[in-house]
Symmetry: C2
Subunit: 207 residues, 2 copies
């Protein structure tokens, strides 16, 4: 299972540089030789930072080094990981819904699913309709409160999820293959710290 592109006529990347414009894919090096570890190759974000530095020499572009790269990594990873999902006929948001139902391993209301997957109620309504039509989830009315219903995976939905998840995780692992064990751990830790801070600052309004 090798990470390959998804292709598509007009499109190639996942839309939106996200950061400060990102850059073209053209590499700096000349004739591409074997796997000679050149070590002075520049990633897209470094190139963009250099461009900005030239225009605004007084500007401290340091934040781009983190945020820009985060954006760009996300976009590349997102694009890569969407492909295997699509092969199973699922979009990522749909996968997220099924995933929430599977990992919490109980019935969920549409509202709970929305909160769990960080989606709007409206979006969840639509996804559930589709997933229900495809026989992956079922709905059971609440008998106390007739506004709400309880959703759960069908046997087929659960089977699909149990088939896809390990694939997806190991595919993700292959994307990280370039980094050794130690660095992956460091990266995970640093991102975890950042995430915790961000949740504190930005996610404060969720409770």
């Amino acid at each position: 299972m090798t990470p390959v592109r998804d292709a598509g006529p007009d499109r190639w990347a996942g839309e939106g540089a996200g950061g400060y414009g990102a850059g073209s894919g053209r590499r700096t090096g000349e004739g591409s030789r074997g796997a000679e570890d050149v070590e002075d190759v520049e990633d897209i974000v470094a190139r963009v930072m250099r461009q900005w530095q030239r225009i605004h020499p007084e500007l401290d572009t340091a934040p781009m080094a983190v945020i820009g790269r985060l954006n760009r990594c996300f976009l590349l990873i997102q694009q890569a990981t969407d492909a295997p999902l699509r092969r199973h006929g699922l979009t990522r948001p749909e996968f997220d819904v099924l995933g929430a139902l599977r990992r919490l391993d109980r019935e969920l209301t549409p509202g709970e699913i929305a909160r769990e997957t960080f989606a709007s109620g409206a979006a969840v309504t639509k996804r559930l309709r589709l997933l229900e039509e495809r026989g992956l989830v079922t709905r059971r009315p609440d008998d106390r409160d007739r506004r709400v219903s309880h959703l759960s995976l069908t046997d087929e939905g659960r089977a699909l999820m149990d088939r896809i998840l390990p694939e997806q995780v190991s595919y993700d692992g292959s994307l990280l293959a370039g980094l050794d064990e130690e660095r992956r751990r460091e990266l995970a830790d640093l991102l975890g710290e950042l995430l915790l801070r961000l949740e504190g600052q930005l996610g404060a309004h969720r409770f």
Copy 2:
């Protein structure tokens, strides 16, 4: 300039957990005390990993620690940084177009802008129309090849960009405020390494 939420009736986060479902914002700790550094608070991704571990004890969830957090950080940051842009009447993709024109500091064709901002040609066409109508960019026909035109910033467009960019960068800096200098550098380095590998694997088809 404090990082605040964007609000919006139905919505709150930026849609799409991106990863393996992410989790609700409910913190694990009990009564929220002062700023006592509890240190054993769990981020959303850790919670989700724990949930999966319970369902599939044999599954190696390690990749989620990186990819899931990357996704989640991206989403939170994206949501946060879009707000100041919107206050200037710009969407992020529009900002990316203006940014490309500013930092490359020369005329660009629609195709070049598309490659530079990782957008589809169709999307760029629309954005350029809007930006042109707003007087932020101008179009000059090529006189060799009548298919192409050359775009550049108007004085107003350049002024806007020069006003916004430092704001945006320092805003981004404030999002990273939780991490000390050393960790920011480490994070930038690790992400840079990852990005380079990803570009090699996934971006191979761009040249």
